[in-house]
């Protein structure tokens, strides 16, 4: 990709992204193309990271493990739902993922946790997300009992309107009271350590990705 085109792309993307500086956007664009690899851009086809490539990044770079959550994060990035993250989705997604305000992150996380996208996190969804969170104890008769109980505890803590499911309002209120609940149902944001490493690597040494 030539310099002029990159310049232009950066200028357009910087407009709807307030968390990154121009230089940073530049670095991220470079990284994106580096990750996508050498695919010539043709009219009509979008260039982007497909589900597997993206999940691979999440796993390797940000240490995420939960398949379901990674899937949901991909959907969170892939705004137009076309099965791949294009460059603008990449920049926008990362701006929330890395630098988002609490509000942005809450919105993002809620979308990740709302598996069916109906605007509520239901008991079933919670159970689904938490089912691997407890060590299975062979002694227990019903191995799911602990998970069910955990769901109840979470509901008790977060379901302020007592309708048996979490609306965004419920979720928002709970997170504002206790920030730790932001990622209540699984890690969907980078943990501080890998976050710092990523930024340090990408923004400090852009040449590494710029060798095309």
């Amino acid at each position: 990709m030539n310099r002029k085109k990159l310049q232009k792309l950066t200028d357009t993307l910087i407009k709807n992204c307030k968390h990154f500086s121009k230089f940073e956007v530049n670095c991220l664009i470079n990284l994106f193309y580096n990750l996508v690899g050498e695919v010539t851009e043709r009219q009509g086809t979008t260039i982007g990271l497909d589900r597997n490539a993206f999940r691979n990044i999440l796993h390797v770079t940000f240490g995420m493990t939960d398949d379901m959550i990674m899937d949901r994060v991909f959907r969170g990035f892939d705004k137009d739902n076309d099965g791949c993250v294009n460059v603008s989705e990449w920049i926008y997604g990362l701006s929330v993922f890395l630098r988002g305000t609490l509000e942005e992150k809450m919105k993002y996380c809620f979308e990740v946790f709302d598996l069916n996208g109906d605007g509520f996190i239901s008991k079933e969804e919670m159970f689904h997300m938490l089912k691997n969170s407890l060590l299975k104890q062979p002694s227990e008769e019903d191995p799911d009992e602990g998970i069910k109980d955990l769901v109840e505890i979470t509901l008790k803590k977060m379901d302020h309107d007592h309708d048996g499911k979490l609306s965004f309002t419920d979720y928002e209120q709970a997170v504002r009271e206790e920030t730790l609940l932001l990622e209540a149902f699984g890690p969907c944001l980078p943990d501080p350590k890998s976050h710092m490493e990523f930024e340090a690597q990408v923004f400090k040494d852009p040449s590494e990705f710029n060798d095309i």
């Binding site: 955990l150 505890i153 990622e183 209540a184 350590k193 976050h195």
Partner: protein, 1043 residues
């Protein structure tokens, strides 16, 4: 004292070499009583004090020959008393380190000389002389045990008509009295200490039973209860005896003495009158001393027991504790198994005993479950039962009829128990699982929170990060300020998990865990548990974390935990102080860009938490120093400039704690902290004001600081804060600051300007003691100036001050006496004090046990006597008052001595009073003090001597008591006040020719000649007068020689 020493004193267990007195409260009390007796002997019984012992008391002393003063001939390694017996032998002879003393007079003096080490000396003396009475009075007198022998001796005395025997007799009686006194005294101690209960006694007896039996190695032949019936409270004594505290009676047959019938009661163990003829009756009367427990008693009674017991001792004492924890069954079980072996195998007696005491048994007992497996196989079960049945028969033959039913019962019970357990026990791990089960049963009525918390802790243990965070957040919703919840978390093992979480890499878990720990660590028990579980080092490490909110939480938790010494030490040992001080630094580079991290906190917050933790830590001495070394003071000073109240309170609090150290006060001055403290006095926050005032109070010990407070305008806010009396803590701090500030004259002037003195007088009533101490202290300082004395009087301050003289708080009394003394310097105020009977109150404070109060009261009396109308009459009107003052000259405290000398100087201005105190022996007492290096004492002593010379032949007496030579040496002191007083004293003494000679011999003339050149007129005059007296004597001698 013989009986008391033999019976009550607790000697170390027998053994090899010389026995020594154990260091127990009882022994100490006995020694103290003996010391008091001996020390006062010379005064109370001067006649008997001269009596020469039959044999000298000898022991090794640590006292140095140089400690001996007048009345002794001292050489490098020996000391002889000047006092000798008929044959010219000295009554005290010390040849390092052996000392021999042969009279009570010398003993008394020796103890007085020994001062601080007298307790040790007395102990050494008693240890070396196990029967002092025999040595003192001779053998026949020690035998004086009952009335008949007393009569015999009386006969002897009247026959002899010998005055020495009479003294001897009197001494004997005195010692007998002391003996009784000691016994009663020690009894009081014993009764305080001992409180046995049925469980302990039962345990003791059970133990001893195991160690008893036939043969050489056992401790006893047998030990058995007299009654088989055990009441529900565990006692076996009949109810009408139980009300006397008696628990049970046992019959013990030791190897080497007669059968003993012993009463075990709550007070201790003693011998009773034994069995009476009728069935089961016991003569309950006490026939021996009371011992603290059965073992001690038997050790005393039976040598064999003692011997065999000491072999068992180590194991015994260990086992004793362990056994309590073990369940009942195996203990009972071993008995049948052991005894089972006995009749069956018919082994030799010796072997039996080896089984009884062999190590194998002990180890077996420690592992009950193994034991079960080994002995109680299902196959063997029948065999066991058979042997038991057999044994029932055998048993009856072997032991006495009284005993056997009890034994049999016990055996049957244990057999049943075995079966029970066999049917229950399935695996060895049972014991491991049992405790929690047990606990659940016992705690069935626990609140629901307990169960919920237990569940949450389970999820904490077994959950991944997500589940852990949910559980932590949910746990945080409990009322963690409530003790039930705090203890529930601990009891279900939550603390361990929480602390373990701190050691992980999961930031969220750490935060959640710290949030809980921070809350529950308000509970003192939890704090200790956290320290025990090693939580502090981990938290200290977290202080290095890049996440500020983590740092904050860790620091805050440390602030809560470090409320006790061990915790503070742990923080320091793990380098926490340096890290905490580093947190304070955050506020300075506050320009760094805000991190987008969720776990961010403001820099100010970090510094605040750091200060909070340092505040807690700064309660300990070494930590203060560590904070200073870590460079904490400049950082604290920097933080003090900010305007966040939340921040200022811990910062000022830390400074206030630390200001107790000299180093800090200097640093505080250097860092210009006072300015900011003063500024914050004007804050709105009461707590902040309080801590600032406290800090000023601590720092204002130093003159420069006091000036700084004034220069920065701190006195005005202090004075105005006085008007707000609702917050007592703040009021105490403010009055404290005013007190210390008013030590500087300039500050007092300012306070007067701000009308603070009137307000202070108003605070003399209806305030808590902490406030009163400071208010009175401040008034005491203010009243050093005339205007203020008048002011205090006009505001009606004298009355409440005098009223406070009857208090009991020592600090308060010191301050009140000082204030009253200051007021007394003004005649009009003095009149009021006199009218309110203040002088009498002051005088009675001379009897206060605390030396500071005594001294302060004596100082206050000086202006009173000076300024009272008809002072001489007033002083005489206090019955016994003069004697009291003179006797205070025997004090050990230099300040008391100096103040009393000053008071005597004033008292002696009245001729009649001087005569009275002379009769009370003021001259020898003053002379005795003459050998001192303390300039303050020297000055007042010289003044007192000079005054006391004005009566009768006191001048001569001072010479005779060797006061002159030391006085001459005072002239070499550096203090001009001492010079003046000494010159005046010497002038007075030089009226006597012998004193002139002594002075001349000690080189007084040259020293006095120098003094003549002094600018001080009084000194000049006195020195010149003295020289002229000496010269005149010389001339007269010469004249006499040549004519």
């Amino acid at each position: 004292m013989g009986v008391a020493l033999r019976k009550s004193a607790q000697w170390t267990a027998a053994g090899y070499g010389t026995r020594t007195l154990e260091i127990t409260p009882l022994n100490e009390a006995i020694l103290k009583e003996i010391m008091m007796f001996v020390e006062s002997f010379i005064y109370k019984h001067p006649q008997e004090a001269k009596y020469v012992f039959v044999e000298p008391l000898e022991w090794k002393t640590n006292l140095d020959p140089s400690a001996f003063e007048s009345g002794y001939i001292v050489s490098e390694t020996t000391v002889k008393s000047e006092e000798v017996d008929k044959d010219g032998q000295p009554l005290l002879f010390l040849s390092v380190p052996h000392i021999k003393i042969r009279s009570f007079g010398q003993l008394s003096r020796f103890l007085l000389t020994a001062k601080d080490t007298k307790l040790k000396e007395a102990q050494a003396c008693i240890e070396a002389n196990r029967d002092p009475v025999t040595k003192i009075l001779g053998l026949d007198y020690n035998a004086m045990k009952d009335d008949t022998s007393v009569v015999n001796i009386l006969d002897k005395i009247t026959k002899d008509g010998d005055p020495e025997s009479e003294i001897k007799m009197k001494l004997g009686m005195l010692l007998k009295h002391l003996d009784l006194h000691l016994l009663n005294h020690s009894l009081k101690h014993i009764s305080l200490e001992i409180c046995l209960n049925p469980a302990i006694v039962k345990n003791d007896i059970e133990r001893l039973k195991h160690l008893s039996g036939k043969g050489e190695q056992t401790v006893l032949e047998s030990i058995d209860y007299t009654s088989d019936y055990e009441f529900s409270n565990g006692c076996r004594a009949p109810p009408w005896r139980q009300i006397h505290g008696e628990i049970c009676y046992v019959v013990v047959k030791p190897h080497d003495v007669e059968t003993l019938c012993i009463t075990c009661s709550a007070e201790g163990v003693f011998l009773n009158g034994g069995k009476t003829d009728d069935e089961g009756g016991i003569n309950y009367e006490r026939k021996s001393e009371i011992y603290k427990d059965l073992v001690t008693f038997l050790k005393e009674k039976s040598a064999k027991f003692l011997e065999n017991m000491s072999k068992q001792d180590v194991r015994f004492s260990e086992e004793w504790d362990k056994e309590k924890e073990l369940n009942e069954a195996p203990k009972k079980e071993e008995e049948p198994t052991l005894q089972k072996a006995l009749p069956a195998s018919g082994k030799s007696v010796l072997e039996k005993n080896q089984i009884n005491f062999g190590k194998s048994q002990m180890t077996k007992r420690l592992e009950p479950s193994l034991n079960w497996k080994a002995t109680v196989d299902f196959k063997d079960k029948n065999v066991l039962r058979d042997t038991q049945e057999e044994r029932h028969g055998g048993k009856l033959e072997r032991s006495g009829p009284i005993v056997s039913p009890g034994r049999a019962q016990l055996v049957r019970k244990s057999a049943e128990k075995i079966e029970e357990i066999i049917s229950e026990s399935s695996s060895e791990s049972e014991e491991d699982e049992e405790p929690p089960d047990h606990r659940q049963e016992a705690n069935a009525d626990l609140p629901s929170e307990y169960w919920q918390i237990q569940k949450l802790v389970k999820y904490l243990k077994g959950g991944n990060q997500t589940a852990t965070v949910i559980a932590l957040c949910s746990m945080k919703d409990f009322n963690l300020a409530q003790e039930t919840c705090q203890l529930a978390i601990r009891d279900v093992g939550g603390l361990e998990v929480l602390i373990n979480l701190l050691d992980t890499d999961e930031v969220k878990c750490k935060i959640g865990s710290l949030k809980i720990l921070k809350e529950i660590s308000h509970n003192p028990q939890i704090r200790r548990n956290i320290v025990d579980l090693g939580g502090l080092p981990i938290m200290v490490n977290i202080l290095d974390s890049p996440h500020k909110s983590l740092k904050c939480l860790a620091a805050e938790t440390i602030a809560n935990v470090a409320k006790f010494r061990r915790a503070r030490r742990a923080v320091r040992r793990h380098g926490g102080i340096t890290k905490l001080v580093a947190l304070l630094d955050c506020a300075h580079n506050s320009q760094e860009p805000a991190q987008s991290s969720l776990y961010d906190a403001r820099d100010v917050e970090v510094a605040r938490c750091g200060a909070l933790a340092l505040w807690s830590c700064s309660k300990s001495h070494v930590n203060k120093e560590a904070i200073r070394k870590a460079g904490g003071i400049p950082l604290l000073a920097g933080l003090l400039k900010t305007s966040h109240e939340n921040m200022l309170i811990p910062v000022v609090g830390t400074l206030q704690e630390c200001a107790s150290e000299e180093n800090y006060r200097a640093a505080i001055k250097a860092e210009r902290i006072i300015e900011n403290l003063v500024k914050n006095l004007n804050s709105e926050n009461e707590q902040l004001q309080e801590h600032c005032a406290m800090a000023i109070y601590q720092c204002a010990e130093d003159k420069e600081t006091r000036d700084l407070v004034r220069l920065h305008g701190g006195l005005k806010p202090l004075a105005s804060l006085l008007n707000n009396t609702d917050n007592k803590e703040r009021l105490a701090a403010v009055t404290g600051a005013i007190w210390k500030c008013s030590i500087s004259k300039e500050n007092v002037t300012k306070f007067r300007e701000y009308k603070a003195i009137e307000t202070l007088v108003g605070l003399l009533t209806d305030q808590p003691e902490e406030v009163l101490v400071n208010v009175v202290g401040a008034l005491g300082e203010c009243c050093q100036e005339y205007e203020n004395r008048v002011l205090v009087r006009k505001c009606g301050g004298i009355q409440p001050l005098v009223n406070l003289l009857v208090g009991i708080n020592q600090t308060l009394l010191v301050n009140v006496t000082k204030a009253v003394g200051a007021c007394a310097a003004e005649p009009e105020s003095m009149a009021i004090i006199d009218r309110l009977d203040g002088v009498r109150l002051l005088w009675s404070l001379l009897k206060n046990p605390h030396p500071d109060v005594k001294a302060s009261a004596a100082w206050a009396l000086c202006p009173c006597i000076q300024n009272a109308k008809d002072a001489g009459e007033m002083v005489r009107s206090f019955v016994g008052g003069l004697e009291l003052v003179v006797n205070l000259l025997k004090s050990d405290n230099k300040e008391v001595l100096a103040s009393v000398c000053a008071a005597i100087t004033n008292i002696a201005k009245d001729q009649e009073n001087l005569a009275v105190i002379t009769d009370h022996g003021v001259v020898p007492l003053l002379s005795k003090l003459a050998n001192t290096n303390n300039d303050k004492l020297r000055r007042h002593l010289a003044e007192a001597i000079s005054r006391c010379c004005m009566w009768g032949r006191n001048r001569v007496a001072f010479g005779e008591y060797k006061a002159v030579a030391p006085l001459v040496r005072y002239l070499k002191s550096n203090d001009p006040n001492v010079h003046r007083a000494t010159a005046q004293a010497l002038y007075q003494l030089s009226e006597d020719a012998d004193n002139c000679i002594t002075m001349h011999e000690n080189g007084a003339v040259k020293l006095l000649l120098d003094m003549v050149g002094s600018p001080d007129q009084d000194l000049q005059e006195a020195a010149a007068g003295c020289i002229s007296n000496i010269r005149r004597l010389a001339l007269a001698t010469e004249k006499a020689r040549y004519t």
